[in-house]
């Protein structure tokens, strides 16, 4: 299973927003606030086809970072973390594939999603989605969110052995 430090897993469990940073076409970082989901091993984010530029960026360069930084979006948990990893886009069927992969995780974190899904007819393109599957490689953790102190750094076992 996963290797992320337990406090970081706790953050991932509650975070309603995280900042996904990808590498843009000219090598610049670009950041997108998104809801992060976690199955204990990988982090899943997802994107509507309406806002799909980030998917193109990831396909060009799969190196990404996920920052968990906002206590309001993490139910008052003041810790902070940044997870660097490699992303893969899952987009064989943007209409329904994401439901099988992540709807359970999304529903567990945000039960209201079911009521939005019932209104799919109102905004059909919003629910045409691709999944961003992130394999964590390195993690930086700041207890109490204090980034003026050095973070605790962890590295994925496979990355260490490599």
């Amino acid at each position: 299973m996963g290797w992320l430090p337990e406090p970081v897993e706790r953050l991932l469990e509650v975070a309603l927003v995280g900042e996904l940073t990808v590498v843009g076409p000219n090598g610049r970082p670009i950041t997108h606030p998104l809801i992060p989901l976690h199955d204990g091993e990988r982090i899943y984010m997802h994107s509507s086809t309406l806002f799909s530029k980030k998917l193109d960026h990831i396909k060009r360069n799969p190196k990404v970072a996920v920052a968990l930084s906002d206590p309001v979006a993490m139910k008052g948990n003041a810790d902070r973390a940044t997870i660097q990893g490699t992303a893969r886009i899952i987009e064989d069927d943007p209409h329904s594939q994401w439901e099988g992969l992540i709807l359970g995780l999304w529903r567990r974190k945000e039960p209201v999603i079911d009521s939005f899904l019932k209104m799919r007819v109102a905004l059909p393109l919003f629910f045409e989605r691709a999944v961003i599957e992130i394999t964590p490689e390195r993690c930086l953790y700041w207890a109490e969110g204090d980034t003026s102190r050095a973070p605790r750094v962890s590295t994925a076992p496979h990355a260490e052995s490599a």
Binding site: N26, K63, E91, L140, A150
Partner: protein
Amino acid sequence: MAGVTVRGGSVPAHPPAATDLERLADYPFVVVSWIDDAGYPLSVATEFETDPAGGVVRLRAPAGDGLAIPTDQQVNVIGSHIRPKPGEGYDERRYLELWGTVGAPIKGHVTFSPSRVWGWDEAEVPFFEYSERSVPQSRHYLARLSAERGRIIRPRLSPFWLALRTTRLPFLSATVVPVLLGIAIAASHGAFTWWTALLTLIGASLAHLAGNVTNDVFDTRSGADDANVNPTQFSGGSRVVIYDLVTIRQLSVLAAALFAAAAAIGLLLVWVTGSLTLLWIGLAGILIGIVYTAPPIMLVYRGLGEIAIAFAFGPILLLGAYVVQAGRLSWEAAVVSVPMGILVALILYVNEVPDRVGDASVGKRTLPARLAPKTVRQGYLVAALAAFGVIVAGAVGGLLPWPTLIALAAVPLALRVHSGMGLHYNSPYTLMAVMGTNIKLHLAVGGLLLVAYLVTILVAVLG
């Protein structure tokens, strides 16, 4: 993303100004990101101070090995705000993203000089509008994915929802109410055949759906629906072609099929009743359904849309339904058809308010596109009160039975719509509730008139 016209974002990408840094100052912290030595993005939340006059942001430098913000590359700084509302979703969503370079650290801080900024604030561009503006991005993405996979990948809806959305089925109340009223008035005159009544209802409904679909075909072709970035559940068309849920060809075939089915039922009723009057009424109805948006006549582009709709959903439907049952015209049915026509035209009229900018841009001369907001509101009140005035005059003049005055109970709904238009005229999404109330007004008046005629029939039967 070459070739994509991205129309999103309330703050389109631009060189930063002092106002951008003033906006940034409202965020409690920022996340600064750069590309580390291993080629991964690295993001760290930090405290900051803005200097709008100097055009710079002072960032507290993160501590730790390898966390020095590089001075030789473009870094990204984002301020992001969202308020999770458990059980409801989110609100107060906004973010502001800047790119630029930082100088060497001085006393634990670095100076960030932004050269580019963009962002989104849902208080300025509502989420639905932001989504609508991003539709070209979705189309481009799916087209490229289709090319990559060697198969067509398109958005989908279940057949039920697609049919509902494509035909705008919920608007059928505008047809059902006048048709039932025409049948009820005929019944109060002693003329009623259940199966021709049922056929009338089905035929009229098919003609209405055909008109809706035809309207979408031509509004899509003219660019009117594409130009409208504020569609609501009541306005802006079905958008099924814009969303690539169906093709324009499929939509055209559907319109033709629906018109053909409606015409077949209409001709059957003409044959059964032997009424040439019904033939002319049916032809007029189908003609209006087509030329409402179809060239070269395009009634709605000539400022005749509201009148055409009032005529089609008032006299044509109500008198048509009456003639099927009674075989002749009636002054009483004609009088009742006037308020019903006005109230349906008022549904269109209010629903045109959020569409007015897009409509005007493609030459659709609807009343809200041509008139000042105050005049549009006054026009609504005058027309709604006129509808009730016709009912009162009809009852007082002896053309309508006294129970029809019960329809006046719906007057408060009209006043609510008038007041709501004043409050929400420039806010398409909050105007939706007003549009809903306006539809209820038509249903309420029609329903109360129906009750009045059922009472009249009952009294006649018992008497």
